[in-house]
Assembly symmetry: C2
Homo-oligomer: 110 residues x 2
């Protein structure tokens, strides 16, 4: 490709991955962005995938558990989760919005 | 690694890459997050790199030019810039904060 691509997160491919957990995903060649919205107290159940995952909490807050690390993350907090590490996310009472990034692209979110 | 890593963006490695353009970077194995702050009217001059770059505007606004595409991006807008594509960013009057992501990791931002 010889050019960049711009879009609003609402234009991404929509998926509901757990009750109260929706995302909008957009992919490049090696990177995928996923704008994730968790309703209050929604849970991303413990899971793992070979893809490396990183991101930032945009609004609200959630308890992130990744391997042996656990922390409540708030806006501006970053997370880096190696491929294969089991992780779980539990939104607190206000819900949570985060921008996730994956490498390689998650084909299941296209 | 068997665990995740959590940090506030202010804990990342600090770099000033152009006048009025500062970033804080944190890397995983294949992904790098870079929290970039552009002061009002600051400019990321046209440049390119082999790394694929993507991200989202967090606050403020800026004119993004990537190859033949050009658009003013605001909070919640995403960008995906293939490796090798020349790009430039010009913050508007309110300045701009964006979360950049790179693959592979930019060794110059560690």
């Amino acid at each position: 490709m010889t050019s960049g691509r711009f879009l609003h997160h609402s234009e991404g491919a929509a998926h509901t991955i757990f009750p109260g957990v929706t995302l909008r995903a957009a992919a490049g060649e090696h990177l995928m962005l996923s704008y994730v919205t968790l309703e209050p107290n929604a849970v991303v159940e413990a899971h793992s995938h070979p893809h490396e995952q990183a991101g930032m909490v945009v609004s609200g807050s959630a308890r992130f558990i990744a391997g042996e690390e656990e922390r409540v993350l708030k806006p501006g907090d970053l997370y880096i989760i190696p491929g294969g590490v089991t992780h779980k996310v539990i939104a607190l009472d206000e819900g949570c919005v985060a921008l996730d990034v994956f490498h390689p692209v998650r084909e299941d979110y296209l």
